[in-house]
Structures are given as C-alpha cells and as structure tokens.
C-alpha cells in the first residue's frame, strides 16, 4: 500500500541535519528528505510499497531517542531533530551496507544486474572490501523460463515478498526458515518453475540486487532506449516501459499507470517476443492462381505452397479491386468487415469509416460481439450507456464486491490485484462462478452455482432483498422505473425454490443478498460467464436490477463493471466498430444522427443497421456476403461452431486479411497484408475503465510490414476515398470531433499524461471516473428495471451427450493464441492443449491426470490432455479456446442471445471418451 498522502494530516516542522522542513501530508522522514534533496540510503524501501524498515540502512539519529530510527518508517513530529549524516547514523548505515556486501557473490558487485541498488549505496557510503567473511551461499534456481533466482545476491529485504503478497497478492513467495537461514521461498521452497508462481514478475521488478531477474541476463545489458507505452493484451490497460536494444525488446517494466500502479501480469511482462518471431509476416502475399480454398488450416511453414509474395502496390490493388468489384456488381451488402479490438482507436475508427463510406454498408463488427454484446445490450437498454460506471481501482472504496462469471486472476490479472488488495483491507468479496478461480480463496462467500442458472440465482437474491425490505426505496422512487414489474417477476424466485436449481443453499442466498444490499458501498464485476449465454442479456439485466434496487450505483465503490476483454474493445466499440452504431453509440437507424454523420463524412450512408459477427458468418455461408476485409481478428478460431465459420470463410469470393501472422483465418485469404504489432505503432487505446491511453512506438516494424492505419488508408484510397491522414495524431483529431464524450481529450494531453478518463467533453476537464451520479443517460434520466425469467441453455446435456462443455481463457494465453503461442515464455509455460476436469470425473472416466481425453459434441470432436482441476464442477469440462490442435470452438454451439446476438460459448453438451491422439499444433 502506498503511504497515504491524505491532505488531512496536519503538517509539522522538524529539523533535518539542521535544516527546517515542513512535512507534506503523512510523509516519512525519508520522503521528506527526498523532497528536500537530502540523500539517505535505502534498500528495503520501494516507492509505492508498504515501508518495512528491515534493512536498517536508512537509520537516522533522532535527538532524545536511545536508538537510531528507520527513516523510511518514522514520521516526523513537531520540533523533532533528525540527523541523517551524523557520525553515529553514518556508522550504522555503512555497517549495514558492509554486512550485506560481505554476503554478496565474491563480496562485490552484483553479477546479475549492472544497477544493483546495494552496489550504488555501498559506493555512496564508501564501502570497499568488506571486513567480514561470506555466508554459505544458496544455489541458483533456474527452473523458470522467464526468471532466474540467484539467492546468493539476496539481501533479505523482502521487497519480493511484499510484491508477491501485498501488491499482487499472489501469495507464492514466503520467508522460509529464520535467522541467518531465512530464505525467500516459492510455495514449499519449490523450484520457481514448478511452483504456483503466476510469473507476474512483480518480484523481479522489486528486487534491488538482481537476485530475482528476468532470464537471459538482461540485467547486464544497457538498453538503447526506454519507451513509455502500454500493454497490448487485456482491457485492464496497464502502462509500461519497453526497454529496447537493437530494435528488440530486452525487458518490460510496469509504469505507475492509473490502472496498474506499476503492476503487470505474465503476458504484459514476458509476452513480447512474438513480435520478433521468425514467422512474422514480412511481405504482402497473394493466393496463388488455382490454389483451392479448403477448411484445412495452412501450416505457416508451407505457406509458400499457397501464396506468393507481392509488392505492396500489387497487393493493395488486388485487395481493393476484389472488394470494389463485389460492391459494384452485387451491391454494398455483399461486403463486410471485421475490425479489431486489438488495434488502436484510430485504426478502428478508420476501419469502420472505410466500411461505412467505402464499402457503403454497416456490415462492420468485431469481437465485442463475442464477449460483452449482451452486457452492452442490457446496459444500453436499462441505464443508457454501455460503459462501466466505476473504475476497477474504485473497489478500494467498496465494502462488498460481487465478482460473477469472471476469472480476473486469469483474465484480468492486474485488475484482480486491486480486488485482492480490497479483500485484504477488509472488503468482503462474493465470488459467484461455476468454476472456482484463484480469487475464491480471498472471498467471504464463494458460490459455485450450477452453470446456466445465473438468472435463477440473481432473481433469488433480489427476491430476498424485496422480501426482507432491503431495497433502497428512495433510489427506486427517484431514479428508476418499472420496479413493480420486477417485484412481481422475482416474487416466485424464493430462496427455497432457487436453491435446488442453483445448488446454492437458501441460507447462503439470504446471507449474500443481505450483505450486498446493506453494504455502504457495493460493486459488481462480471465477465463472460455472465454474457456468453443465450440468456446473457437477461443475466446482465438482473445484475443491473440488483444495483438499481439497492441504489448501489452512482457513488464511489458502487456500480457495474463488465470487465472488458481486449485492450481496446471499449475503444473499438466507442468509435463505432459496431454494425448498428456510429461513434459514441449513436444509432445508424436514427435519421438525425445519420444526417450528422453524412455531413461529417461528406457522403451518403447506409440507413440500415448492419449484420453482426455471427450473422455475417452465416451470410457468407449462404453466399449473401461475398467479400470481406478482416483486420486483426481470427474468426476461424474464435467463432462458435467454428467449422461452420471456416466453411463460410472458404465460400468467400474475396478475403483480405491484415495480420502479423498467418493465423487460422489467414488460411482462407486471397490477399494478406503484413501489419504491425503493438510495440511497433503509436495510437490510443481505451481500457475497461474508460481511460484513453497512449501507446507509443518502441520498435521499427520488421522488413516490409506496414502501419495498420496506412494500410487501411491505402485500401480506402483504392476504394475511391480521398483520404490523406498524416498519422495517428491526425486521425485522433477527427475521432474526438466525431465523439463528443471524449472531445476534450487532446493528443498533447495524452503525450503528457498518458491517460485520461472520459466522459471528458471540454479541454482541460478532469474526466469522470464515476458516472450516473445524478441520472442515467436515458430518456427521462431513469434506470429501467427489466425483469428476466429463468430459462435453459440452448443445448442441455442428455443421454447421448451427458457432460457440460464450457470455454474460456487462461492466464498465459491470449484468446486464439496468435500472439501468445508465438511468445516463447508463454508457450513454455502452457505449451499444450488441456481440458480441465474434476479429479473425480477423471477417475470415473478411467483417465489418468495428464492422459488424453477426447470430447465430441454434435458439431465436432477434439482430443487434448486431461488436467485434474478440483475447481471445475463435476460433470463439466472446461477448455481455453486458444489451441488450434484441439480448437474448443469446434464443439461450441452457435445459438445466440436474441438481444446481444452473442453466442453461447459457455454451455453445450459433449460426450467424453478416453484416449486418442492429440494433434500437432499448427503455428
């Protein structure tokens, strides 16, 4: 925890080395000294961490005190006289450094990093050869692919322990033993590589001597440059610094961003060498004449059998000509585009503008359809806005937080750290999920309810809140409508009725309902476990109703937070990469809105809402859509019932794919345009918190790969559009003109501050981290209660397919694996296709843990390794959809939610069998 800089603490005046100093806030002697240019050595102290005061190198002399005091922990009092450079203080500082140096390898400089803090302070204190003998040394532990543990350089300062336990709350590192044998340990003093370490690397970032360092000896290499940027992976939006040498990323450090406070996860810290992967696409490619498309994936090693190299001019001409001809021959509705939630706001904006003004259709969508479309549908319907009401870090203000249908420790790891911090500080977490995640250990209540019964469970909670008179009547009266209908609807969902459906006892349902309803401030987080059902919109409606009926919204520590998946899924949606919405969520079928955009873009626009992802796939399958432009999306892996999607892609007459690798989807391309990876470009990205953040280019793109915005523009020009954007800053200017909600955010401000929260309408505004304080952006300003009935999944288990199959993600991999399976550390950590199975189910099926299991649904069949996981409910198989050798989506059901049009990735029926062979990955 950082020291409070709470302005309420009265300042005091004290003397430091004879100089009068007035304190600011709650600062320590060390902080006051730093602010006044007085140097005091420190080792166990790390800015932002709880000061621990164990190393004793920062000792100062305080007049009237018998002993010296650690300046990192002591707060000055009025009139205190402190000496940091007295003989006595200096003596202790120097001896501490000498004792620590005596135990270093060779009693000298750290062999593991060139900027060891101990070396620096020892030199500052004038320590040369230590006079003491060296300790018996620890052996190195090099078992982890990403980090080297060399405890012979450990000074037992415990920064790594605080990193692991107090910052990230992963609780892997401990202090084994005691006294001179006290040792940093992982789990039960296990090798790091087999421990429960999640490789967030916070310990490495915290270590002052290099005892914990990234592998590859990078600590001894001086980077050419450090580039402040952002993480390309999830929606948390961590800010970071790329350390670059010879156009390669040496290592990455977390930066003190508002969403990550210098924290990162394994992907954001160690998941970067995909950009240097030898299989990057380096030249434009065109499908060879006569090579027929089949549903078979193309092995990148054999791609020259199917494609030929082309110049950019030729490739762009062919790409655009194909699209143009289809448009002109079959009409605009025969075209569609999938943009990317991984690209920048500027790229997404250009992409939707190209489809709307160049293709002349609204058939543009992206993977938001597959993740939170139902959440957004419910949010827009009930409270008028699809974005989060409160930011993740606001959980620190909450007394209670519900986390439902989400696995943040795996999928939003840094967001999860804030939830765990809150739990450690006394907030009560209520985790509801059929699959137990690491977060459950920190929860006051963990409800492992039966999959697919969300509506029953949530209606049960609301039933209790109504029945026990725990509703917030003032809030309901003043700020909502349609409560009576909801009340009637939840009346039948008594805890006793809901208990057998959900598997959660009536008593627990009552306790949880009371806890949430009576909290001073309670927040709700949810993920795809809520949204990816055919009743996903109903699930989200229930969560919204829960917040509305208790008035748990519009204040700090309250509200609704659907955790966004991709780093820019929020931004891509904001800027209109959605078939029915223009930038800023304005409906394409509203004539007034359309007129404005027709004027803004100076062209006629399609008045009809476009097709969504799954609808586009079906339309392609049916031959209605004939040409597509897909940028940075991978429907050949990510769509449900993916063989159907692959068949649809095969049927396309013309497919342009803009990618950095030969993805599964690129197997079906006619033209492939080699694009840039995140660290190779500059742009803005909007995180789950509505923070617009700047990613800066750190690397030159490899060989002939080009900037994505440039590629889109070149296609647009060849489609007849007169575009002359000069670059991301130029495009951003148009984006903010198109979007009043972020109209006040300037490029200069982002360059200066890296991050700004919208709504931010006028330049200079601070931004609004909490929204809906006074009203909801619906007509009349009231929130709507939308009652929901409990229904079943589309495909229930039966005699033929008796088990439940559910999909999701895992910590080490990103979605369809295009990046992470080509990142060496991540691949080393999770190299193979695994299905998580309850150990008792494994026994029942006669399969050994680690053995091969084959799963078959009505749509497909896959084989993978069976991993024992007691967190999975019995009768259920869980699988990440990242492995193309056993693509989970070959099994999933493409039934969709009627409102959000989101497929039911979370529930289908399968039949297991033992054995068979796991296919080889195609990478």
């Amino acid at each position: 925890m950082p020291l409070s800089t709470n302005g309420k603490v009265p300042s005091v005046t004290f003397q430091l080395n004879g100089k009068l100093i007035e304190t600011r806030g709650d600062e320590t002697i060390l902080q006051a000294a730093d602010r006044n240019g007085v140097t005091i050595p420190r080792l166990c102290y790390k800015d932002g961490y709880r000061p621990d005061g164990n190393c004793r190198v920062c000792m100062v002399e305080i007049e009237g005190e018998r002993l010296l005091a650690p300046s990192c922990c002591r707060r000055p009092t009025e009139g205190m006289k402190v000496a940091s450079a007295s003989d006595r203080a200096k003596k202790s500082q120097a001896l501490v450094a000498e004792l620590l140096l005596a135990d270093m390898p060779s009693q000298g400089k750290s062999p593991y990093r060139s900027e060891s803090e101990l070396d620096r302070w020892a030199a500052w204190l004038g320590i040369e050869k230590p006079r003491f003998s060296q300790r018996e040394q620890w052996k190195p532990d090099l078992s982890h692919p990403a980090m080297a543990v060399n405890l012979d350089a450990c000074i037992q300062c415990g920064r790594c322990v605080r990193a692991c336990r107090e910052e990230q709350v992963n609780d892997v590192i401990g202090w084994g033993g005691r006294g001179e044998h006290a040792k940093i340990v992982f789990d039960l003093d296990d090798p790091m590589g087999v421990s429960s370490c999640v490789a967030c690397g916070e310990c490495v970032q915290a270590c002052p001597t290099g005892a914990l360092m990234p592998s590859n000896g990078v600590g001894l290499v001086t980077p050419d440059k450090k580039v402040d940027s952002a993480c390309p992976y999830c929606g948390v939006g961590c800010l970071l610094t790329y350390n670059v040498k010879d156009n390669k990323i040496l290592y990455v450090e977390g930066r003190d961003g508002p969403a990550n406070r210098s924290r990162l996860c394994v992907k954001g810290r160690f998941g970067y060498d995909y950009v240097h992967n030898p299989k990057r696409l380096l030249k434009p490619m065109i499908r060879k004449e006569g090579v027929v498309k089949t549903t078979e994936l193309i092995d990148p090693d054999a791609m020259w059998d199917s494609f030929r190299e082309a110049s950019w001019d030729e490739a762009l001409d062919v790409a655009a000509r194909g699209l143009r001809e289809i448009r002109d021959e079959h009409g605009p509705q025969a075209l569609a585009g999938f943009g990317s939630a991984k690209g920048s706001n500027e790229e997404a904006y250009l992409f939707q503008k190209l489809v709307r003004t160049g293709f002349r259709t609204n058939n543009v969508d992206h993977c938001t359809r597959l993740c939170h479309a139902s959440s957004v549908a419910a949010l827009l319907e009930d409270i008028g806005s699809g974005a989060v009401s409160n930011q993740v870090a606001d959980v620190a203000q909450a007394d209670v937080a519900i986390v439902i249908g989400a696995n943040p420790t795996g999928n939003h790891p840094v967001a999860a750290t804030f939830m765990k911090n809150a739990a450690k500080a006394g907030a009560k977490l209520i985790v509801m999920d059929p699959k137990r995640s690491d977060l459950a250990r920190h929860a006051t209540y963990y409800l492992q309810f039966n999959g697919d019964t969300d509506v029953a469970l949530l209606n049960g909670l609301m039933n209790v809140i109504v029945a026990e008179g725990l509703v917030n009547e003032d809030f309901i009266r003043e700020r909502t409508e349609n409560f009576e209908a909801l009340k009637v609807s939840v009346a039948e969902y008594t805890p006793e009725r809901v208990a057998p459906i959900t598997g959660i006892s009536a008593q627990t349902i009552r306790e949880v309902a009371r806890l949430y309803a009576t909290a001073k401030a309670a927040m709700i987080f949810w993920g795809m476990g809520v949204s990816q059902h055919i009743h996903g919109t109903d699930n989200a409606r229930c969560l919204i109703s829960l917040a509305l009926m208790t008035g748990q919204i519009g204040r700090p520590g309250t509200g609704l937070h659907p955790l966004r998946g991709q780093n820019n899924v929020q931004g891509a949606s904001d800027v209109g990469l959605i078939p029915m919405l223009y930038p800023d969520y304005r409906r394409v079928d509203n004539p007034d809105v359309r007129a404005k955009f027709e004027a803004f873009w100076n062209t006629k626009l399609d008045p009809k809402a476009g097709l969504t992802v799954t609808e586009i796939t079906n339309a392609a399958y049916d031959g209605i859509i004939r040409g597509m432009y897909i940028m940075g999306e991978n429907p050949a892996m990510s769509d449900p019932n993916v063989m159907h999607a692959r068949e649809a892609l095969v049927k396309l007459e013309h497919l342009v794919v803009q990618e950095i690798f030969l993805t599964e989807t690129a197997s079906y391309a006619d033209v492939i345009l080699p694009a840039t990876a995140f660290p190779e470009k500059t742009g803005t990205y909007t995180n789950t918190d509505r923070r617009v953040q700047l990613g800066r280019q750190a690397l030159d793109p490899p060989f002939d790969a080009r900037q994505d915005w440039w590629i889109i523009q070149e296609v647009a020009r060849r489609m007849g559009l007169d575009w002359k954007y000069a670059g991301p800053a130029d495009i951003f200017e148009e984006v903010r003109l198109a979007m009043p909600s972020m109209g006040g955010i300037t490029w200069e401000r982002l360059e200066r501050e890296s991050s700004a929260t919208y709504p931010l309408r006028r330049e200079g505004d601070p931004g609004e981290p909490i929204v809906f304080i006074d009203d909801f952006p619906r007509a009349g300003g009231r929130g709507l209660f939308a009652p929901a009935k409990y229904t079943h999944a589309d495909e229930m288990p039966d005699q033929e397919f008796p088990y439940i199959f559910t999909t999701g993600r895992q910590l080490e991999h990103w979605h369809t694996g295009a990046m992470t399976r080509r990142a060496s550390v991540l691949d080393a950590l999770e190299p193979e296709a695994v299905v998580s199975v309850h150990p008792d189910d494994l026994s029942a099926l006669g399969i050994e843990p680690g053995g091969v299991i084959t799963l078959e649904s009505r749509r497909g069949k896959i084989s993978a390794y069976a991993r024992a996981d007691s967190g999975v409910a019995r009768g259920t198989f869980f699988m990440p959809f990242v492995y193309n050798e056993a693509a989970a989506n070959l099994l999933t059901n493409d039934a969709i939610d009627p409102f959000g049009k989101i497929p039911e990735f979370k529930f289908c029926a399968v039949r297991p069998s033992k054995g068979e062979k796991v296919a080889a990955a195609i990478l």
Binding site: N54, R88, R135, S143, L188, N216, E830, A868
Partner: protein, 578 residues
C-alpha cells in the same frame, strides 16, 4: 511432483527467444497433469480435516493446527502442509513459512526422511553447558538410537537449576544422564509428570479469588486498584521493567475492545521462575490476570506458553477449564496458545505475531502494542510473574511491596539462580541485593572447589560482570552504567573453572540461532560475530564496530542486546585476551 533439473534455461545474452531445455519437458508433463503449483492430495486433506475437527479455521489458529499435525505424524509432510493451506484458505507459502520458522515443526518434503517418533532435546544453554551438556549430547548422538529417537541440541529449556537438562519427547529430565534418557525411552515416559500444585479447590480454600470477587462485586474500584499497583512500584518482570500500574492506566485509556496477552514464553537462558511458580500456584497468576483484565477493561485474553513447558500447558489447560466450569465471576474468553520453539516470541510484539498465527517477527515501534497489539487492538501485555504478584499486592497494600528491598532499592525479585552455586533455583529476594549476598544468603554459597569469577546478571542479554563487580545492587537501572541489565533476573554464576570468552560464545550462538532474521544488523551481525569469536583470536576492533550497528540499528531487544556478552568479555575479562 517431478523435480525439475536446475539446468540453466537462460538463453545467451540479448537473444529474444529461449531454447528448450530438459526442465521444459518435466514442466510440460506436470502442466498436463495438474497445472501450476501443488495439487491438494485428497487423502491428506481428509486427515487434516479429521485432526482439526470443529476447531476454527481462522488464520490465528495456524500454529495450533500445525501442532496437531506434528503431534500426530511427528512431522509436517508437504501433502499435509498443502492440505492445511487449502483447509484454512491460506497459500502454501503462508503455511510453509510459519512451519519452518519454529524449531518444533519438522517440514518433510517428498523424498526426505521422516524424523523418528521421539525427539530428545539436549539443552545447550550455558548452565547446562557448564554441567556437561556437550558431553551428554555427544554420547547420545553416538548412542545408536536410529529410528527410535533423534537427538538434537536445543536452546535453554528452562531447567537450569537441574543442569544438564534434557527433554525426551515432552518429558523433562534434570541432571540428566544417558541412562536416564534410555530409561525414559524404554518405558515410553514421554510426558512430564504433573507436580503436586495448588488446584482450584485448595486455592479457593486459601482465600483465592476473593480479591477478584471484591473487584467485580464493587467492593473495590478500578481507580484505587490501579493506584495501589502504582504505589507498589511493581515493574514488568519479563525484563523490560515497565511500571505495571502505569501500563494498566495507559491501556485502559485506549479504545475498546482491548486485549490482554500474557507472556509465558520464558526463554531467556538461565530463566525458569515462571515455570517454578506455575508448577506450584497457577491460580495466583490466573487471579492476578483476571484482576488486571477487570481493571483495564479487557475483552479477551491470550496466554502464550512456550512449547517446552508441556506440563504447564496441561496444568493451565486443566485449571482454566476448571475455572470456566465454575467461574467465580463472569469470565472473558481466555485462550491458551502454544509456542513452537522460538525464543524471539518472548519479545512482546513477536509474541503477538505468533498469537496471530504468523512467524514470530518483532514489529517496529511506534505504534506500541498498548495502542496496536493483538489483531490491531490495544493490548495489555504482561509477563506471567508480574500478574502473579497482583493479588498479594492488593491484599497487603502497595506499600508492603515497596517496603521490600535492599541497598536502597524497592520490591522483591524472583532470581533464577544457576551455575556454580550450591543451591540453584528460584530465590525470592529483596530487589537490590548483590550477587555475593544472593550466593551466600540464598544459594548456599559457591560449589566446593569453585571460586566466584563472574556472573550474568540478566540471562543471555544482560551482559557479564566480573567478581570484582559482585557488590553492585541487582535491580532495574542499577546495572546500566556497567553496560548490563537485570532483565528477567536470571543469574548465572561463573567460577574460576569457566571462561567468559567461552560463555560469551555460547550466548552468541544462541542469539544467532534465535534471531528471527528480519533485520540486517541482527541476522547478519550475530552470524558474523559468532564467526569472529569462533576464530579464537577475536578481532576486537571489528567486534566493537559490529556491536555499534547491532545496538543502534536492530529492530528489537534481541539484536540490540546480543553484543553484550562479547562486549563485557572484552571489557571486564582482559586477562582472557592476554
């Protein structure tokens, strides 16, 4: 679980991709089976659940639960550690670090040998060492006990009056011989006989708990009671000597709920007074404790007892239960907590950490435990003996206690006397008595053939004084100018057959072994001091330098006082350095 070869998987400098290694293959197989970390073994989990029964799974019970596993299985297997973590919703590292901090838990991982069912602990404290403990240890270690018993040396077990002392299981043997140990093992006498003490009925018959009833019944008021304690001049008898009455007043002034923590972790080498009193009159302590609880407004009491005193655990457990079954007054919750072999837990804040189920790591002050103690609540912490005197002081008046004393000092002190004297034991004597008077009047004089040479006035921490300073009054404050202190009043008497240098080394080894390891000056300082002292020819300027950082910059009293033995040896026994 597979052990991964510690092959260097690091790629050459600056290369982006890493090559595969044999470690990858093992990890891959592990990941197929179980993912990250150690899976919970269902059988071990069932065993842990059976052992824990209906006991709370709260974190502060971790050490208690580890004892249950250690007692039953004679070790903490990795499977049990992981299962216990699962059951208590802790991380495996949280269980492991606590289990490995305390001497009395044996964590045994896959492929490691389980210790024998019986552990024989041979005390290596100075009084025992003076009485042949090393020889006894060597004999036992070469005794071929095999898997029947394991022989280890142990820090002071608090039986210095009967040196050399040995624990066979939980059975303490005084003036122990190999034959005694063999007999205990052969007859499976592994628990200590319960001495004949004053039980509840007898204590009540002698007027016991009348004072407590008076207090709670309104016959006495809090203000007068605290005033009496203040006027008695009673100071904390654990060693720090903070005035008891003033402490009551301070904690009473803090916000409720308030907690009391009683320190019976008597571990200072040479000290055994708390054991001595509890073996005789436990209710006198309990009554004092309850009176203090009433006066200060305490809501919950924790008694922290060192694990070596198993028979006291039985006595206190039985007598607290008897009291709770027939409470003379309404009682607040009383918890008896079991230490696990860590001298540092006698330090008040380390004890609080241990009560909370953690490693015994002293806390930085401020804040003081009176403000922020057990579970973050204001805490009244007392040594057992301080509370032991409460009843008598209230019965006889503060002036009675204050009128005791000699050489201008006030009060009584329970001296734990050991070493080269005729009658070692606990001797209640006037505060301010000199060591020569104590030896002659109370301890029966020096052993035949031994000439008084020097003494430790306050256990391991209080320094060493030469015979020439044998006439200094022994009390709080009187020894400060000599660089010494009385502490827990553990007097270890050395004779002309002994060496201050050797005695100092014994004590430094103790400090090294018992340092919690938290702060640099103590963790490394004690180890370097031992290394310098073991080299025979002490580097006296370097030791002097080292002592400065240890005294000035250590977090707690252990590190601050640890240099006292070698500083005194160099200062007062120059002859040994000739």
């Amino acid at each position: 679980m597979d052990t991964i070869d510690l092959i260097n998987v690091n790629a050459p400098l600056g290369t982006a991709a890493r090559p595969a290694s044999s470690g990858d293959v093992a990890r891959k197989k592990k990941k197929r089976r179980e993912g990250r970390g150690r899976p919970v073994d269902p059988a071990a989990l069932a065993e842990v659940r059976a052992l824990l029964g209906g006991e709370p799974r709260r974190r502060d019970h971790l050490i208690e639960h580890l004892h249950k596993i250690q007692d039953r299985y004679h070790c903490i297997s990795a499977a049990h550690a992981v299962a216990l973590a699962e059951e208590m919703r802790l991380a495996p590292a949280e269980v492991y670090e606590v289990a490995t901090f305390y001497h009395h838990f044996d964590v045994v991982k896959e492929g490691e040998e389980r210790p024998p069912a019986v552990t024989v602990r041979v005390c290596d404290g100075l009084p025992c060492e003076l009485n042949g403990a090393r020889r006894l240890l060597a004999l036992l270690q070469s005794g071929g006990y095999g898997d029947k018993a394991r022989i280890v040396s142990a820090p002071c077990i608090g039986r210095c009056e009967a040196a050399p002392a040995v624990l066979v299981g939980q059975n303490a043997l005084g003036a122990a011989t190999v034959a005694d140990v063999d007999a205990s093992l052969a007859q499976s006498r592994l628990t200590h006989p319960i001495p004949d003490y004053i039980g509840l009925q007898k204590y009540l018959a002698g007027g016991g708990y009348r004072m407590l009833k008076d207090c709670l019944g309104g016959a006495r008021n809090v203000e007068d009671t605290i005033a009496t304690m203040e006027s008695s001049g009673l100071r904390g008898l654990g060693g720090a000597g903070f005035p008891a009455g003033r402490k009551w007043r301070i904690v009473r002034g803090e916000a409720a709920p308030r907690i009391m923590a009683v320190n019976v972790d008597e571990g200072e080498p040479g000290t055994f007074k708390d054991r001595w009193y509890l073996e005789r009159d436990p209710h006198r302590f309990l009554e004092g404790m309850l009176i203090a609880g009433w006066a200060v407004g305490i809501d919950e009491i924790f008694i922290y007892l060192r694990d070596e005193y198993a028979h006291i655990r039985q006595i206190l457990g039985d007598e607290i239960a008897a009291l709770q079954a027939n409470p003379p007054v309404p009682l607040v919750p009383i918890h008896l907590r079991r230490g696990a072999g860590a001298y540092i837990c006698g330090e008040e804040s380390a004890m609080i950490e241990s009560i909370e189920g953690k490693r015994g790591i002293p806390r930085l002050r401020p804040p003081y435990v009176a403000q922020v103690g057990v579970f973050g609540r204001p805490t009244l912490e007392h040594n057992m003996e301080t509370l032991y005197w409460v009843r008598e002081i209230l019965e006889r008046g503060g002036e009675w206690f204050a009128s005791q004393g000699r050489n201008g000092r006030k009060g009584l002190r329970s001296f734990s006397v050991s070493g080269r004297v005729q009658r070692p034991g606990v001797h209640l004597a006037p505060a301010g008595i000199t060591v020569r008077e104590l030896i002659d009047e109370f301890a029966g004089g020096m052993l035949p053939g031994h000439e008084f040479y020097g003494y430790f006035p306050g256990g391991a921490s209080g320094g060493i004084l030469p015979a020439s300073l044998g006439d200094v009054p022994l009390d709080f404050d009187t020894l400060n100018s000599y660089g010494c202190f009385i502490g827990s009043a553990a007097i270890i008497v050395l004779s002309d057959k002994d060496s201050a240098k050797d005695a100092a080394l014994n004590m430094l080894r103790f400090f090294r072994d018992e340092s919690c390891g938290q702060c640099t000056p103590c963790r490394i300082g004690t180890a370097k001091a031992v290394a310098l002292m073991e080299s025979g020819n002490w580097d006296r300027p370097l030791l002097d330098d080292l002592s400065k950082v240890m005294v000035d910059a250590s977090i707690c009293g252990l590190g601050q006082a640890a240099p006292n033995p070698f500083l005194c040896a160099m200062k007062y026994f120059p002859g040994e350095f000739a």
